[in-house]
Symmetry: C3
Subunit: 182 residues, 3 copies
């Protein structure tokens, strides 16, 4: 693959927007074997049901790895020009980091830096959470803030960004109509 | 009209995004008489005020029909190549179905199947509800999930999908820039 | 500058979407000196921290003016073909108006009318707040409604509208793909 070819992508979308399914399609179209890097810790029935539905959609050429916290180190271990890594999702990762009282800003910086020098193709999924009414409780507000900052940081580091609504993607980067002047 | 011409459209948008107004414009541009198929049950003053405002925007060549639950059957009854049906909106329909403890998955499947074979033009309006912080109560979370799944299903079944923000539409399907690769 | 050149712009986005930063870039690209017209009343530590972060990003060729309520009159005073005014943001302005029990509809109409005849370039920032689950309390619901209506009104009055997600803009107006038919 040419050095200029897009190799890292961020797929953004709201809850139940079809973002994970679209990210899986991006991966499948590469024709490469894939590693599903799940940030979920499977702790309740609702989450189990969601992950099972995801697993049912994925075929047998997928390997699944769970990593709730040390995502950047795990990505470095797994990176391979001949395999695609699908990280699903950064929202659960952020939630895990906050629960573990990690420094989310430096963790985000480290992930962005690693993506800018990724040795193999990576697709990351993340939630858009900032387009509703600002939450009344301070923790939810802080989560929305950190999620927004993380999304901006990762969007700046990867080569391609998609926003998904109702299963349909819009490409934000590279922007097909980049005339951004007053 | 040629068989390949778009005849079914979904208009998505947040609350007060101007999605209903844009959907009405789509309908008006066809030059055909129209049926407004309201899913609202008018139960309080706030809802009455909203529906009256919608009615004021619509002209005299509109017929209004209310159908809170059996939308797919009613669509089949009303379908006519010479009339446009405007369904406003799927979010209230979903809310009515859940309150009546109907099977929302099979109801959504039936609507999608009916739209794929619609005998006349149909425009449907639905809310984007998944781009805020995940709600804390389980019912709201379930509603957001079902709404997202329904939107994906209907978006896959219709020929054209628009996302509206601040009264301004973005066409998601057919996508004008369909380069969706890693 | 030619009379037909875009001179007024609205930048929409969710919380922490990067909308203010993008608006600042739009302003900086004009090469003109700028006035930052803040609608914030600085009342707590959280808001102080946010405003300081904004200030740190802005350079020394910026003048800052605070105007929580009488935005339209202040814009008329400050308008100048040789300076750009950045209004950040309409969401705080709306919140201030509602708290002061002003008539938000006529205030929005007056702002829209003033923008349609602006004597100098203006960039306005506003939040998208309607794409989450509808809030349960009536005040939040009313705020979401009024914000959506204000965004539609201002979007109709200005020449250019951008929607920002993860720091990346999509131009909604003029729309690069304006094929909006059923």
């Amino acid at each position: 693959m040419a050095p200029s070819a897009p190799r890292t992508a961020l797929v953004l979308g709201g809850a139940r927007s079809g973002k994970s399914r679209f990210a899986e399609e991006l991966v499948a179209r590469t024709g490469l074997p894939a590693t599903y890097l799940a940030t979920a810790e499977i702790r309740d029935a609702e989450m189990q049901a969601r992950i099972s539905a995801h697993r049912d959609r994925r075929g047998l050429d997928w390997t699944t790895v769970e990593e709730p916290l040390d995502l950047t180190a795990r990505l470095a271990d797994l990176a391979d020009p001949g395999r695609v890594i699908l990280v699903d999702c950064l929202t659960l990762w952020l939630s895990n980091l906050m629960e573990a009282e990690r420094d989310v800003v430096s963790e985000g910086d480290a992930l962005a830096a690693a993506l800018a020098e990724a040795r193999g193709p990576v697709v990351l999924v993340s939630n858009e959470v900032g387009s509703g009414i600002v939450p009344m409780n301070a923790l939810a507000r802080r989560f929305a803030d950190e999620q927004g900052r993380l999304n901006q940081k990762i969007a700046a580091a990867v080569q391609t960004v998609f926003l998904v609504a109702a299963g349909l993607p819009v490409r934000l980067k590279p922007n097909p109509n980049p005339e951004f002047v007053l």
